[in-house]
Symmetry: C2
Subunit: 417 residues, 2 copies
């Protein structure tokens, strides 16, 4: 299938989608859920083939687990569509309205963005997530998933298209790019006429590559070098538990903590307690010289940090540790090295906390709570297509509203200027 | 000056700017207005040198007029700063607030974007406009103006920096790139670490070049291939006056009409009336065959349109004219050829009008009013840094609010997940 044709079809579908009623959109989502259940066998069979190829190719356990579908996972995917049905349709909301002295009535109205391009890794569930969020917000979507999940993605996309057709809705509301060539990916990211925005989802490397090569506007997502700063006034117990939770509750996610900053006066007291708690998960600490001096006699894995550690998102049982003199040094360090995702201050001093909340240049800034809460569901958005670490268009978790734009309509009776 | 240094200085300044009170920002704007008045002589002298070079280089009248500063224009520029003082400061607004069942208090708060890059042509007044809007919204700005205005821009920037220093505010809140090399412009557009968004302002060609070459996110602005569609139910007088106004009131602006679509039944009646009115300004009509047949016996300039005409922004006394069978054909044509800026339907049929307002994929869609109203001032934004024709981040006129982002702050008392 020619990429230009895919783009043109998506644009055409987007015009019809923008006009669909909430009721019709919900009908489609329910029908697609039924189709997923009815087509469990062909989808699982396609996934088996992907898994087989993946094993032959030597994909690691983590990747294979993300690729794997089974009846329970498919059932959860179908259920997730029904969750989207329950969410309020953002389209058509009047954001502002004014009548000018010359009688012109200006309305600012929420509309879909149009055509969304998604580039992601070999995770077939993202195929359905991307569709459901884009569709409910009135957008057509073009998907470019990881090649290791190609057969699974084809089967899921066909199933969705069947559901769309059953409801009399343009099946090109979702399209999958089956080509795995680098050139086609590059061309896809350059189709400014047909695609309004590209959202990459996956590793820092994938996101960076899209940011560097796309001509279509990109919303940067995901990579999280998240920091926790422990102020000299911190409650020791809160500090230990927040660090333990943010680092170890789930290591492979973007809102996990990767770096710990500790105010120098409290460091000798708190660092051994933190290390002790993290030893339960055998976390390796990459520490600066001062922290090394404090921890070297204690049991636990410690290594000297290098400059590279301050900017590393480990996604592993590893945490970098640095001693700082005050909240300002912590803020400066974080603003320099973070990926602007989620950061936390643990402190009982409201003034230091406010300074941190105000001056940290990240999407989500916490005071005395784990960074693990950064999530569209937790924040009440109902669903999440990604977490923006950029400042343009959307920041933090992106739900249905973040997949919209607006337009002005102006009604007159012959006014000229 | 090294570009990396400029970027780093801008980022540093942006952190302080984000914390400035509205009162302090207004004090700076007032001080800069005074500095402009006090430094009239050196600014006009620098502008004289630019004008002299421009004449030697053979710049046309229009370009020289845009480059030219005089005491009255400088006075108007100083006054414009005081207009910005009057506008409400958007920073710090709480956009949303919720308390979760676990006690976490989540606030979504409006913050500056950070560092704005502006790329524009040889119009020294834009230097001041860009500063005042970026500054009041708490952003640092890096400017890359047209090389023909370099000396004027240096003088104005120095004057602004003097005002900033007098108020004890980081003078790097505004910086001008003095290099005119293509490589430096390319490097400027690639500094994703230091610049959050680039806003190009100028010709379609300049904007396209920035869109194609920037790695920093770009907000597409300005180019306006604006359409007027006359429906079969149109009021003849309204139609004639709207077309006349939208085409001729000011030809060089992005909200001027460039293309006229006429429903075929009303065409024999309305086209001669429109032509007669446009003859007052000697407008040349580039018409399709059907329109040619209607107009060929009438006095006035007509030429056969080519496919190229449908996508041309003339910015001249030229209007393309096409006969269509109904509102749907008009919508399809416009969505295919427009630059998504401003379009108008002239109609007395509310159903056709609603269809047009709903389905036209442009920033501003008019019913019975001239497209010339698309403007930040008219829309009540108070000021305008450009008109976005993209759908990401901002659409239509961009004022202070459109120069902001938001962040989430989350307050807890030790919550973990």
């Amino acid at each position: 299938m020619n990429l230009e044709t895919i783009g043109q079809q998506a644009r055409q579908a987007s015009y019809a989608l923008a006009m669909l009623s909430s009721q019709k959109k919900n009908e489609v989502l329910q029908t697609v859920a039924q189709c997923l259940r009815a087509n469990q066998d062909p989808i699982l069979k396609a996934n088996d083939q992907d898994m087989e190829k993946g094993k032959q190719k030597g994909l690691n356990e983590g990747l294979l687990d993300r690729l794997k579908l089974d009846p329970a996972r498919l059932e959860a995917m179908a259920d997730s569509l029904l969750d989207i049905v329950k969410l309020e349709d953002p389209i058509g909301e009047i954001l502002e309205e004014r009548i000018l002295t010359n009688g012109l009535k200006i309305q600012k109205k929420r509309v879909p963005i149009g055509v969304i391009g998604m580039i992601y890794e070999a995770r077939p569930n993202v195929t359905l997530d991307a569709f459901s969020i884009c569709f409910k917000s009135g957008n057509a979507v073009i998907l470019k998933g990881g090649s290791d999940a190609l057969l699974s993605n084809i089967a899921i996309t066909q199933c969705i298209q069947t559901g769309l057709e059953q409801c009399g809705v343009d099946p090109f509301s979702i399209q999958l790019i089956e080509s795995t060539s680098h050139e086609d990916t590059q061309r896809f990211m350059s189709m400014t006429k047909w695609i309004d925005v590209i959202i990459p989802r996956g590793s820092a490397r994938l996101i960076q590559s899209v940011m560097n090569n796309a001509k279509v506007p990109v919303i940067e997502t995901g990579a999280g070098n998240c920091h926790i700063y422990i102020d000299n006034t911190a409650d020791l117990k809160k500090a230990v538990e927040i660090v333990y939770n943010a680092k170890t509750q789930r290591i492979g996610v973007c809102n996990a903590a990767e770096s710990l900053l500790v105010q120098k006066e409290i460091a000798p007291k708190i660092l051994p307690l933190i290390q002790k708690r993290l030893n339960e998960k055998e976390v390796c600490l990459k520490v600066d010289d001062e922290a090394y001096a404090i921890l070297k006699e204690q049991p636990g894995r410690i290594e000297h940090a290098t400059a590279e550690d301050w900017k590393t998102e480990y996604l592993d049982y590893i945490l970098s540790v640095k001693i700082v003199s005050d909240v300002q040094e912590a803020i400066d360090h974080i603003n320099q090295y973070s990926t602007h995702h989620s950061e936390c201050i643990v402190s009982e001093d409201p003034q230091a906390a406010q300074q941190f909340l105000d001056q940290i240049d990240s999407a989500c800034v916490y005071w005395n709570a784990s960074t693990r809460f950064t999530d569209g569901g937790v924040f009440g958005l109902g669903a999440e297509i990604g977490i923006s670490t950029g400042k343009i268009h959307a920041r933090g978790p992106m739900g249905l509203k973040e997949m919209t734009s607006y337009k002005y309509t102006i009604q007159g009776n012959g006014q000229v200027r």
